[in-house]
């Protein structure tokens, strides 16, 4: 009795935590539910037959992230899939064609010298640009990116305009990503800070020497543009006025490692000879997503409600107890989704609804066994205890086989299939837990704690022997 009370307190404590989690961390919705575009971008092998490594794909991914920023999509997600694919999720995109066009091109990296006489204008624009970028970054990190979306879009438009303006101050000299052979971050010799190394091929080195000779000591910058957006604008020291810098270029500024690494990856991404191709595009219109959310949630609730009624009517008192356990199960499972960061998709919701069915099964197995024990003439307490004991091996075996199927789906499947497997597996695991803790404790408490129940086995089984 004492033990059961402790367990109940523990369960209530867990429920409180779960509810807190659900309130503070609502489950994430997949693109099929909220609307948006999901693109799979494949990095193609280069024309010269060079194979794609994971590092190359990471560099391309950085380029793609730049482009997404240009699209002005809040909460976009990019991730590597395998060694040569990038999965891009763009929630709420209304123009998938534009997204595909912008993301699907080969990156364009270009070095351009600043034209004499534009220094003042450039400096002003450059400062505006940096300010805008800082503002956008702040808004994006704010956690309420969706609410700030309108503002972000506005700022993105200003950034695009600033970049367009800046581009006109620089003269093209035909020094592009094709001429870059390497770019990497390196620590400063003083040991305090980082710089970026760039190496050019021979032709590129010659052009760069020309540019730097001309710019040395003037205060004018070399503009480094990726997809026509300025990513860096270093100046050249006066000491290079006679020779220029032909190779082993270092860009130093007040870089920390992340800053240097980021710039190196951007430069590298723009110098990669790999074309990219959008191999998969799945777009769901915003209204379509909301419609299926609403309908599926209604259907799910209706289903759950029917199950609760059925269990209570058929199994009477234990049925009502099982219903309590099922509600607790639902709260726990949803909290687990939030905690583990499961993205709920339509199949995910199906997996969840299905797991409710399986959670009922555990209870059904237990009650059937309890009834049998009552019919055999055992006391209620003993019947409940051995009902749980006898049912456990069935529950274990049947859940393990389901988990095996889930495992195969999760590790071998992708996308939707993975989501389904994960939600079902979490549901099965939680249902084992609630069946052996919640249902059992609640049953024992009712049986032991309420004398009127103890003397009335027919509450548990119709036609029970008196």
């Amino acid at each position: 009795m004492q033990k059961q009370r402790l367990v109940i307190v523990a369960i209530l404590f867990l429920v409180a935590i779960a509810v807190t989690i659900l309130v503070t961390l609502p489950p994430q919705l997949g693109l099929d539910l909220r609307g948006g575009a999901q693109l799979t971008i494949q990095v193609q092998p280069a024309e010269n037959g060079q194979t794609v490594t994971e590092d190359d794909t990471t560099a391309v991914k950085r380029v793609i992230e730049n482009r997404i920023n240009g699209l002005g999509v809040a909460e976009a997600i990019t991730q590597l899939v395998g060694s040569d694919r990038i999965l891009v999720q763009l929630p709420g995109v209304t123009n998938p064609d534009q997204a595909e066009r912008v993301l699907g091109g080969t990156a364009q990296l270009e070095f351009r010298p600043l034209r004499p006489g534009t220094e003042g204008e450039f400096t002003a624009q450059f400062q505006t640009l940096r300010q805008l970028e800082v503002q956008v970054a702040l808004l994006r990190d704010d956690g309420n990116a969706e609410e700030n979306q309108a503002e972000i879009n506005q700022l993105e438009d200003l950034i695009t305009a600033a970049n367009e303006k800046i581009l006109t101050f620089f003269d093209p000299v035909n020094l592009t990503g094709e001429n870059v052979t390497n770019a990497q971050p390196a620590p400063l010799q003083s040991g305090n800070g980082w710089q970026v190394f760039i190496n050019f091929d021979e032709a590129g080195g010659d052009i760069f020497a020309e540019i730097t000779k001309e710019l040395a000591g003037t205060g004018r910058s070399v503009g480094i543009f990726l997809d026509d957006a300025l990513i860096s604008a270093p100046t050249v020291g006066a000491e290079y006025a006679t020779t220029g810098i032909s190779n082993n270029v270092t860009i130093s500024g007040s870089f920390d490692f992340d800053g240097a690494n980021d710039l190196a990856i951007q430069i590298k991404g723009g110098s990669l000879p790999f074309p990219v191709e959008v191999v998969e595009n799945r777009t769901v219109g915003a209204s379509l997503g909301q419609d299926s959310i609403r309908r599926s949630i209604y259907a799910g609730l209706a289903g759950l409600f029917l199950v609760l009624i059925f269990v209570a009517v058929y199994y009477r008192l234990p049925g009502v107890i099982a219903d309590c356990a099922l509600v607790i199960y639902t709260i726990f499972t949803l909290a687990c989704y939030s905690l583990i960061g499961v993205t709920l998709t339509l199949p995910g919701i199906a997996g969840f609804i299905l797991s409710i069915g399986m959670a009922v099964d555990a209870n059904v197995l237990i009650f059937e066994r309890t009834r049998e024990e009552i019919y055999k003439g055992n006391t209620l307490y003993r019947s409940v205890e051995s009902g749980f004991f006898n049912a456990f091996s069935s529950i274990l075996d049947s859940n393990v086989t389901t988990l095996i199927a889930c495992g195969a789906l999760f590790f071998l499947g992708s996308g939707l299939v993975k989501g389904f497997a994960l939600t079902l597996a979490i549901g099965v695991a939680v249902s084992m837990f609630t069946a052996v803790t919640c249902s059992r404790t609640l049953m024992l408490l009712t049986v032991l704690g309420l004398p009127s129940v103890r003397q009335n086995p027919s509450l548990f089984a119709p036609n029970a022997p008196k």
Partner: protein, 326 residues
């Protein structure tokens, strides 16, 4: 036992076996016919073969836009003008204002051109209802291979687990039963593919795997009972023990199937379009799963163990009991 109904599943085993045999043969026939008509046993969606599917609805807030239902012929004419005449067109929705077009994989420009042509020729479509599924052929093939691999791996995983927990022959019979469930479900979808043009997508593979999990689940509960009854001092032949075990678990089988089917029925009837046929596959599969555990897995086990004449886990006590019973 208080159960009045003496339900002896092993007695009519030939009836159950013939029923299943007929269903399996019919399924194979559907798939063969399908193979001859469309070169695949089931009608694959673009998920597996690649291609482009565009779905959208007319914007009914624009005046006069939704007055007439969309005519398939008109859409087809536009497709022919775009040189993609071999595509399939479906007009959906209550007011026939939604279209779904499936074409070979379109490049971005081709797709944009098609959308523009449709907006021009048919009416203004609401971009918020636009759904694009555009899958490259390699991705499609990969999805299919991954799915089949998942299917095979889970088969072996389940065989291994059941062999450890029970015996190897139990595992093989359970697998035979779930193969039966998966095959007939596929057969019914093959028929639906032939009759109403229903396509199977990656969700169907998910459904098949779930059916397998559920079917084994059901079989395991009965096996568990058989093992328990064999271990206890229960007298009788293996058929008697199987009959008793099925009878003892029958209530649970029916209730579990009911409670699982309730939410699925709700999804099938009221859920979104995407999940409708996913739910249908699960409903068919789960019903078959319950049927096969009760009527196939158990009767096959009784027959196999009876034929070999050796009762598993025989103790001296239970031998005496059997002798006494005879």
């Amino acid at each position: 036992m208080s159960l009045q109904l003496k339900f002896k599943v092993t007695q009519q085993r030939l009836l159950w076996w013939s029923l299943s045999a007929i269903a399996v043969i019919a399924s194979v026939i559907f798939m063969v016919v399908s193979q001859q008509q469309i070169q695949t046993p089931l009608r694959p969606s673009i998920d597996f073969v690649g291609g482009t599917k565009i779905q959208m609805a007319l914007d009914c807030t624009v005046e006069g836009n939704c007055d007439e239902p969309i005519s398939t012929a008109e859409v087809q004419a536009i497709l022919t003008a775009q040189n993609i005449g071999k595509s399939s067109v479906q007009v959906l929705g209550q007011d026939k204002t939604n279209i779904s077009i499936r074409t070979p994989k379109l490049e971005l420009e081709e797709r944009a051109a098609l959308q523009a042509a449709l907006n021009e020729g048919i009416g203004v479509f609401d971009p918020a209802t636009l759904q694009i599924d555009d899958v490259g052929p390699t991705i499609g093939r990969e999805l299919f291979i991954q799915g089949m691999l998942a299917l095979i791996v889970s088969f072996f995983g389940i065989i291994a687990y059941l062999s450890i927990r029970f015996k190897f022959d139990y595992a093989i019979i359970a697998i035979a039963a779930l193969f039966h469930d998966a095959l007939i479900t596929a057969g019914i979808f093959s028929l639906l593919g032939l009759v109403i043009g229903l396509e199977v997508d990656s969700l169907f593979l998910v459904a098949l795997l779930t059916i397998i999990g559920f079917s084994v689940n059901d079989t395991v509960v009965i096996y568990d009972r058989i093992r328990e009854n064999l271990d206890s001092e229960q007298a009788g032949t293996i058929s008697d023990i199987v009959d008793l075990s099925v009878q003892q678990t029958l209530g649970r089988s029916i209730n579990t199937t009911t409670t699982t089917l309730l939410p699925l029925l709700a999804i099938f009837l009221f859920g979104g379009e995407t999940l409708k046929f996913f739910a249908l596959a699960l409903i068919i599969g789960f019903l078959l799963g319950s049927y096969s555990s009760i009527f196939l897995a158990s009767t096959l086990l009784a027959w196999w163990r009876g034929r070999n004449g050796n009762l598993p886990t025989v103790t001296s006590e239970s031998v005496d009991n059997i002798d006494a019973a005879q």
